[in-house]
């Protein structure tokens, strides 16, 4: 009896709680209808460790506390942020159902051209020219960026989206790096035969490394493939000495190459997809001599035991470092890794990582494999850190009746020095006080995101630099179109650390056409042809490149190579090339400043 009563009370209480909960969330949310309140869809929000609603972003709050435009209106933005991993679902439901946000992040989209022709996004040309003087001034000064800002509609250059721009090549967070401490310990000077000397000058500073290493090519950094192979031989000595048996020298991308081109384009240029060669001709990369030279090199490395033998087995979801475990244990000499692994940061005091010093290096230039045309050519297809422009943001037809001038006036502020600094780094103490945000003090940056140095450059706050990448993007306004300050900002990196990162962005993309005006101006059917051909070609190369690398097929045999080329020709890359070529003739990938 008693039990029954309890049961009844409990169930009644539960029903009550349930009903309250239900009522709380079931009403349709009514938004404010002011013409300066906008909705904005962004691909990804900030790390949920810092805030879950993007409107809590401190820089956005600063902007929202100000008035903009001649009529001095305040702006209110309601952010739509899909949960991680559901961005493309969210995008397709939005587009399919006509539920457009006012402001749309174009990072996954059908492209400005098509969406404009469908009437989804607005032509901003008049607005941009009238209300965005800073943006226009920047584009005029930088024609190499300006080509990305407009879209060709029936011969007219229209501003359909506003793009984030950089004032210099930004650092990238990953690239090739190697165990320089092993070179010092086990290598000898290629000219004199003397052993190298070097080490840390300050035990507690992971970047305080000094040495006298010279590479066979003569410099203090590896430049050529021959320098790399010289290093591999030294690594082998290290493995023998340390008694690491299941060792290899370099971990490469799965499944043996990247179709975007890093490392592949070191062998005469190009990638395993469509690219534009130095003469302005569109090529399909996987059948070229450079691809063959690349595969020959990989095959040699594989046979020599230098290449990770399980390079094509996915052991981790991280695409850039397939063998994270071995790398972190200090058992690998060279790998494509992250900035967090540079210097002595991986030293865990255990068997193989004590005294570790990791240095970054640029992509190598081939001087060994393939025909002469494949040698001594600078890499030209680079995925990471390739460009001066970033994500575009468009206004959709939903924003037609909103106050566009005021919005664009506010966005233009982010292209002025003051605004750009704020969007790139975060708020300074005065701005923090004006906004009343506690974000910075809550996260250990009480003195603001940056300080101004004597030489006029801006120094990023220590806590931001040392914390995970998430804090920086949470403290700044990464998800808005803005001018990303690179030139005048001092990130506070140590010289060796910064040097490594500079090497990673030494070469720039001049050949890869994806995401450049060549593809963004394509008619729908051309881009369909290209992507259909590309996905079928990729499937074939994904499955079969490994045979050449592992020696199941002989890369030096013309018959085997012909089989490969013929199989690929079946997917009609030639037809696709012919359709792409006119666009390559018309648009430039990376025009240089006169």
């Amino acid at each position: 009896m008693k039990l029954k009563t309890t049961k009844k009370i409990v169930s009644a209480a539960m029903c009550g709680a349930l009903a309250t909960g239900l009522l709380a969330g079931c009403g349709a949310g009514g938004g404010s209808s002011s013409d300066t309140s906008y909705t904005m869809w962004i691909y990804q929000g900030a790390d949920s460790q810092y805030y879950t609603e993007y409107s809590d972003n401190p820089v956005y709050q600063y902007l929202a506390s100000k008035t903009w435009g001649e009529e001095e209106k305040t702006i209110d933005i309601n952010f739509w942020v899909p949960a991680s991993g559901t961005a493309s679902d969210s995008y397709s439901t939005m587009m399919g159902s006509g539920d457009y946000p006012d402001i749309l992040d174009m990072s996954i989209s059908d492209g400005e051209k098509l969406m404009y022709e469908q009437g989804i996004i607005l032509d901003l040309t008049d607005y941009v020219q009238e209300y965005m003087p800073n943006y226009m001034a920047y584009l005029e000064a930088h024609p190499e960026v300006a080509v990305y800002a407009t879209t060709d509609i029936d011969g007219e250059e229209k501003y359909l989206s506003i793009i984030t721009v950089n004032d210099d090549y930004p650092f990238t967070y990953c690239g090739y790096q190697y165990r320089r401490d092993w070179i010092v310990k086990y290598g000898t000077n290629p000219q004199t035969g003397e052993p190298f000397t070097g080490g840390y000058t300050d035990e507690n500073d992971p970047d305080s490394w000094e040495d006298d290493v010279v590479f066979p090519s003569g410099g203090t950094d590896p430049v050529y493939i021959s320098d790399w192979e010289w290093m591999f031989e030294i690594f082998e000595k290290a493995y023998d000495d340390l008694g690491i048996d299941d060792s290899y020298c370099i971990s490469v991308y799965y499944p043996g190459y990247t179709w975007t081109g890093d490392l592949v384009s070191c062998f005469g240029g190009g990638n395993f997809a469509f690219y534009e060669d130095a003469d302005g001709q569109i090529q399909y990369g996987a059948v070229t001599d450079s691809a063959r030279a690349y595969l020959e090199c990989m095959n040699t490395w594989y046979e020599n035991g230098w290449l990770d033998p399980s390079f094509n087995e996915r052991t981790s979801d991280m695409f850039y470092a397939i063998d994270d475990t071995s790398v972190r244990q200090g058992k690998v000499g060279m790998w494509c890794g992250m900035q967090s692994e540079l210097g002595g940061r991986m030293d865990a005091g255990d068997e193989y990582t004590s005294g570790i010093y990791v240095a970054g290096c640029e992509l190598p230039i081939n001087d060994i494999y393939g025909t002469d045309a494949c040698k001594n050519v600078e890499p030209n297809c680079i995925m990471t850190g390739q460009g001066l422009n970033g994500t575009g943001y468009a206004l959709t037809s939903a924003a037609e009746d909103k106050d566009i001038p005021t919005l664009l006036t506010m966005i233009d502020y982010l292209y002025s020095e003051e605004g750009a600094l704020m969007a790139t780094l975060g708020l300074n103490p005065e701005q923090m006080e004006e906004t009343g945000t506690t974000f910075y003090s809550d996260n250990g940056i009480p003195d603001g995101a940056y300080t101004v140095q004597d030489d006029g450059t801006y120094l990023l706050a220590d806590a931001v630099r040392n914390d995970s990448g998430g804090l920086w993007s949470a403290a700044s306004l990464e998800k808005f179109p803005h001018l990303q300050m690179v030139a005048n900002v001092d990130y506070g990196y140590a010289d060796t650390y910064e040097h490594s990162m500079e090497l990673w962005v030494k070469y720039h993309n001049t050949a890869q056409i994806n995401g450049t005006p060549v593809t963004t101006n394509m008619e729908q059917d051309v881009s369909d042809t290209m992507s259909n051909a590309q996905s079928r070609l990729m499937e074939y190369t994904d499955m079969n490149a490994v045979d050449f690398i592992k020696g199941n097929k002989d890369i030096n045999s013309d018959a085997d190579w012909e089989t490969w080329c013929k199989a690929l020709a079946k997917y009609d890359y030639q037809g696709a090339i012919e359709e792409i070529q006119p666009y390559a003739d018309k648009y430039e990938i990376n025009p240089t400043v006169e």
Binding site: G21, T52, A83, S84, D99
Partner: protein
């Protein structure tokens, strides 16, 4: 199942033991066989649990050590560490996630069960509408219009961004309705007729006379629905994306896991973030595992009833 439905009585597992093992004198062979059977069953049970034990132990380990560790974790690796859980629960959103999940799980299961029961009852009556409706149900099991058309319908109903989108559309399915039909079919005809003669209407007959009899299989449906709702995140990611206060637990968990994936990019990585991946599995699965034994009794009875009579 109609064939075995001729058996008169439902036996509980306890009764069943007496039925199968009533032979008093066991030979040596029998004893050996017994031992082998016990060992195999124990082994299967062990294999079922061990990967989860591994996850639990890793989630309690030291992050860096766990990352380098290879093999099965019998106990935590390195020092005992709750860092992964701290990272998850430092955010109050996960608590609201638990509350929302509870609302969706209980709400959708209740609504769905009522709908399945009413339909199942109607299907179990001999009417001419029975066949067409069954066909409709079958069709929905096999064909689907896809995500976007469904979204457009739900939007037209005005449910996007509200809890209704998570409570109604996925609350039941053709399978559950057909199972309920079988449950009602298994109730002896005499009971139905007696109730009708007493002048009870269909709703009352169903609710007061038939449902208690059919409840055993009903529990199976409820449990399946509870598990399904508990683990569901896709509808939420589509319909309440922009209302974080309506997010269920599983969506928060996906968010937190994805956010922590790139922790190694940081120049001094917080290795506890490696544990998040494991800790969230525990955090999301443990409540339902702990609740399960309470259901088990009813469940077993239910399945037995379903298996026998359905």
């Amino acid at each position: 199942m109609s064939v075995i439905s001729r058996k008169k009585k439902v036996r509980t597992p306890a009764e069943e033991e007496t039925s199968l093992n009533m032979v008093e004198h066991k030979s040596v062979v029998d004893h050996i066989a017994d031992v082998i059977i016990y060992v195999i069953v124990a082994l299967i049970a062990f294999v079922c649990v061990i990967p989860m034990w591994h996850v639990l132990m890793i989630s309690l380990s030291d992050g860096r050590a766990a990352m380098a560790y290879e093999g099965l974790a019998w106990k935590w690796i390195g020092n005992f560490n709750l860092g992964g859980y701290e990272l998850i629960f430092q955010d109050s959103s996960i608590i609201s996630g638990y509350a929302n999940t509870l609302i969706y799980t209980i709400g959708a299961t209740a609504i769905g069960f009522i709908l399945s029961a009413v339909t199942g009852y109607a299907l179990s009556r001999e009417t001419k509408l029975k066949t067409p409706v069954s066909l409709i149900l079958m069709a929905t099991m096999l064909f689907s219009g896809g995500m976007v058309p469904t979204y457009m319908v739900i939007k037209a109903l005005g449910w996007v961004g509200t809890r209704w989108a998570l409570l109604i559309p996925g609350c039941t399915n053709a399978m559950f309705m057909i199972m309920m039909m079988n449950a009602f079919n298994s109730v002896p005809k005499e009971m139905y007729e007696a109730a009708r003669i007493d002048g009870a209407g269909h709703l009352r007959t169903m609710w007061q006379v038939m449902l208690p009899q059919a409840m055993n299989l009903g529990f199976v449906i409820i449990l399946n629905s509870v598990v399904g709702q508990w683990n569901s995140w896709l509808p939420a990611s589509i319909y309440v994306t922009n209302k974080k206060d309506l997010w269920p637990l599983q969506l928060w968990i996906r968010q937190i896991t994805a956010d922590s994936e790139n922790f190694l990019r940081s120049s001094n990585p917080d290795y506890n973030r490696y544990l998040i991946e494991y800790a969230v599995i525990v955090a999301a699965t443990l409540p339902i595992l702990l609740a399960f034994p309470f259901f088990q009794n009813k469940l077993e009875k239910g399945v037995i009833a379903g298996g026998v009579k359905g």
